[in-house]
């Protein structure tokens, strides 16, 4: 007889694994990928996405080999990082950009000890580096289908000091009437990053993740509510604020990242509110039209502190102060 295995209980485990979780998120991004390939120039989009994701996988492999770490570049997490990064880029981004971005992203994860140890969302670190190093290339946008180079609705709105004139200009470029403009915003007939294009695809992906219980809602919902409330307080157009720029993409796929967000539901709500607040302050007061990337990175930094609370176990009784 073979030697029997001896180990601590439990002796059965659920089928869920890190790989399944990572691949589920990748699957959730598929509708988005398909739509973006369909509405933009496919000969640009496909290389951007492929180079982004595979550079990430390869650089993770090289890094792990170089430092004699356990090889895990095939677990789907590096691929996902690369894909997420590529989706935050513009549709005409030169191909060396997703490549550099992915290398930076993986580096930012591996220097802290690899998967699960990184304080910052790797894809957003990659994007932040690209945005700051090559601002022109990072902010060249085109409209889908028509393939016209235009500014994003958000920067049009901002350049006109968020006034009614600016809003009218946005409506003009998006079809004329407000209702048509909102419809075009929702259905992606406006310029922006690859991953922002078709909001229904974003929603499908997110609902898939929620239904499969891969992600929880707290941070996403509190982030979006904060954006809505602050848009109202700042007297900005709420729907335009929500549907333009990277807010929805970030709310569904970046804010929900396990590693860089807090553990407890209460802390996740604070985390979402923080991102919303910083995001809106950047949009309203900074020189940049969009600030989702930096809002999330700043909150990533605070996230471990938000878990300061030690959860009370069942049956916990508050100790009466000794008199």
């Amino acid at each position: 007889m073979k030697l029997l295995h001896v180990s601590g209980s439990p002796h059965i485990r659920s089928a869920l694994s890190t790989k399944i979780i990572m691949n589920s998120v990748t699957i959730a991004l598929l509708p988005l990928v398909i739509v973006s390939v369909a509405v933009y120039e496919w000969n640009h989009i496909i290389p951007i996405l492929l180079i982004g994701s595979f550079t990430a996988v390869i650089s993770e492999g090289i890094f792990q080999k170089m430092f004699h770490l356990k090889l895990s570049y095939f677990d789907g997490s590096a691929f996902l990082t690369g894909l997420l990064l590529a989706l935050t880029l513009g549709p005409r981004t030169p191909l060396w950009m997703p490549m550099i971005g992915s290398v930076v992203a993986i580096f930012s994860k591996q220097v802290f000890g690899g998967l699960g140890q990184n304080p910052f969302n790797p894809a957003l670190i990659g994007r932040a580096v690209l945005l700051l190093s090559w601002p022109i290339e990072s902010t060249t946008w085109i409209q889908p289908i028509k393939v016209l180079t235009t500014a994003t609705p958000l920067s049009v709105y901002k350049m006109n000091e968020f006034g009614t004139v600016g809003l009218q200009k946005v409506f003009d470029t998006l079809g004329g009437t407000p209702s048509l403009a909102y419809k075009n915003l929702f259905l992606g007939f406006r310029s922006g990053s690859i991953g922002e294009v078709w909001i229904p695809a974003l929603l499908i992906g997110f609902i898939f993740l929620v239904v499969r219980k891969i992600v929880s809602l707290q941070a996403t919902v509190s982030f979006l509510i904060t954006v809505i409330v602050l848009s109202y307080l700042f007297k900005l157009d709420i729907l335009l604020m929500l549907m333009s720029g990277g807010i929805l993409f970030a709310a569904f796929f970046m804010v929900t990242d396990y590693v860089t967000s807090p553990l407890l539901p209460g802390s996740q709500i604070i985390y979402g509110v923080g991102i919303g607040l910083i995001n809106m302050l950047i949009r309203k007061y900074s020189g940049m039209p969009e600030g989702t990337t930096f809002a999330i990175l700043i909150m990533n930094l605070i996230s471990p502190l938000l878990d300061f609370k030690i959860k009370n176990p069942t049956g916990f009784v508050k100790e009466k102060s000794k008199q």
Binding site: L4, S9, I12, T18, D75, S216, L264, P313, T314
Partner: protein, 442 residues
């Protein structure tokens, strides 16, 4: 929704009980040898009172209780004591045990296993009988029953809960007992009511075991007692049978942290224990056998067996038609909390509820924690397992001690749900051990 359940956390497991749930309890042929460990309960190991060469009868006391938490140990066969030495033990690596060669005469010790003059229900008499006959909790921990039935006089115990939840997958021993010995279990309640004036008695059973619920409901009218006895249908959820969870599900009372059920007026007894109490008092029969579910994909014919304490694992497997495949893992108990065995040379003890033989062991390699928080969401004790483990691995005693590791009931859910396949509960057990060690050394 009238199904009751516990407060937080918990998971639904594939229960895998179909294989054995309709198989009546069978008697196993008497083994040629038994090895009866002297450590089968919560307290200190019993003191051997027989020596090599002695002849013993069934039910004869061979190990005497030591200390407050001790319990007596009895011979489960008649025959010659051929060794008193250290033998492999299913939980401890080794323990002092008594090996007896069965003479197959099945001679009972005088005055035992007979239905004679057993009626003056006096409290002291019952407690002494339970102690004498070595009755301990059959749920697994082996807590001496006479201690559990003697709460401090200052407590206000008013509720008795009979635990028939059996929430571990594969196990059907309690379920079969509830169906086949419904009357005896109810008589056990009558006996316990003489020990303590409980005001209410509940029998908690998971909903999918509706046959057991029906059995109790139809037998209840014939049990004429003064207090209400209620059968409670519980949601099928693991760990429903954990003492504190069961108490909350049925009474909505919460056992305060680090306190015991009697502090909130409840005593919980497993159905198997109750059956043993019945046999002990009505027949003066010591705890020398128990029902064990034998299942798993390597067992040729899975069964529910009534097994003599001290029967070797290999004899049990033989009684079930042997193995169909070479096993990689053998577990005593359920798959969530059971203990894996090193060889077939281990005896069944009082706390062994199941024998599971599997061809494959998951044998998983753990990856980095991705901080998904599933261990926190599903913990029935409301703990943060990942934090305890993180600090335990960093050997930061002060920090992990703050996260209440001692409140862990070791149900194994954190390790079960972990996508990175980290065995969190194992680390928490080690953390608990470290805390207890430091307390003792203080």
């Amino acid at each position: 929704m009238n199904q009751k359940t516990f407060k937080q956390g918990g998971i639904k497991l594939k229960n895998s009980k179909k294989v054995t749930e309709d198989l009546p309890i069978e008697l196993i042929p008497d083994p040629d040898f038994v090895v009866i460990p002297l450590s089968q309960h919560f307290g200190a190991p019993s003191k051997p009172i027989v020596k090599k060469g002695d002849f013993v009868k069934i039910g004869q006391i061979i190990g005497e209780a030591i200390g407050k938490m001790g319990s007596n140990v009895h011979s489960s066969v008649s025959g010659e004591v051929i060794d008193v030495a250290n033998y492999p033990h299913p939980i401890e690596l080794e323990s002092l045990a008594i090996k007896i060669k069965n003479d197959q005469k099945s001679d009972w010790f005088t005055g035992q296993n007979s239905e004679s003059n057993r009626l003056p229900f006096e409290r002291e008499e019952i407690i002494k009988n339970i102690l004498d006959n070595g009755i301990v909790g059959l749920g697994g921990a082996g807590f001496p029953t006479h201690i559990k039935l003697s709460p401090p006089p200052t407590s206000f115990v008013d509720t008795l809960i009979i635990n028939g939840a059996e929430c571990e997958p594969y196990l059907t021993a309690d379920y079969r007992l509830m169906i086949e010995n419904t009357k005896q279990i109810l008589e056990g309640i009558r006996i316990l009511l003489k020990v303590h004036p409980f005001k209410t008695v509940y029998i908690g059973i998971e909903k999918h075991n509706h046959k057991a619920i029906q059995a109790f409901e139809s037998a209840l009218p014939s049990l004429k007692v003064d207090v209400p006895v209620k059968v409670v249908s519980l949601k099928e959820k693991y760990p429903q049978g954990a003492e504190k969870n069961l108490i909350y599900a049925i009474t909505k009372r919460i056992v305060p942290l680090y306190k015991l059920p009697y502090d909130i007026g409840v005593i919980v007894q497993n159905v198997g224990t109750l059956f043993s109490v019945y046999e002990s008092y009505m027949l003066n029969k010591p705890l020398i056998e128990r029902v064990v579910t034998v299942s798993g994909d390597c067992i040729s014919t899975p069964k529910n067996l009534k097994v003599k304490i001290g029967t070797m694992l290999k004899d049990i497997i033989e009684a079930c038609g042997g193995l169909t495949k070479e096993p990689e893992k053998i577990i005593f108990g359920g798959p969530m909390m059971g203990i894996s065995q090193r060889s077939l040379e281990v005896p069944v003890i009082k706390g062994t509820s199941g024998v599971l033989v599997f061809e494959k062991d998951p044998a998983l390699i753990s990856e980095n924690c991705i901080r998904c928080g599933r261990c926190i969401q599903n913990c029935p004790s409301g703990l943060m397992p990942l934090k305890i483990v993180e600090y335990y691995q960093a050997e930061d005693f002060e920090s992990y001690n703050k996260y209440y590791p001692l409140a862990c009931i070791e149900c194994g859910i954190c390790a079960y749900v972990c996508p990175a396949k980290i065995n969190l509960v194992n680390h928490i057990k080690l953390a608990k051990h470290e805390i207890q060690k430091r307390r003792v050394n203080k």
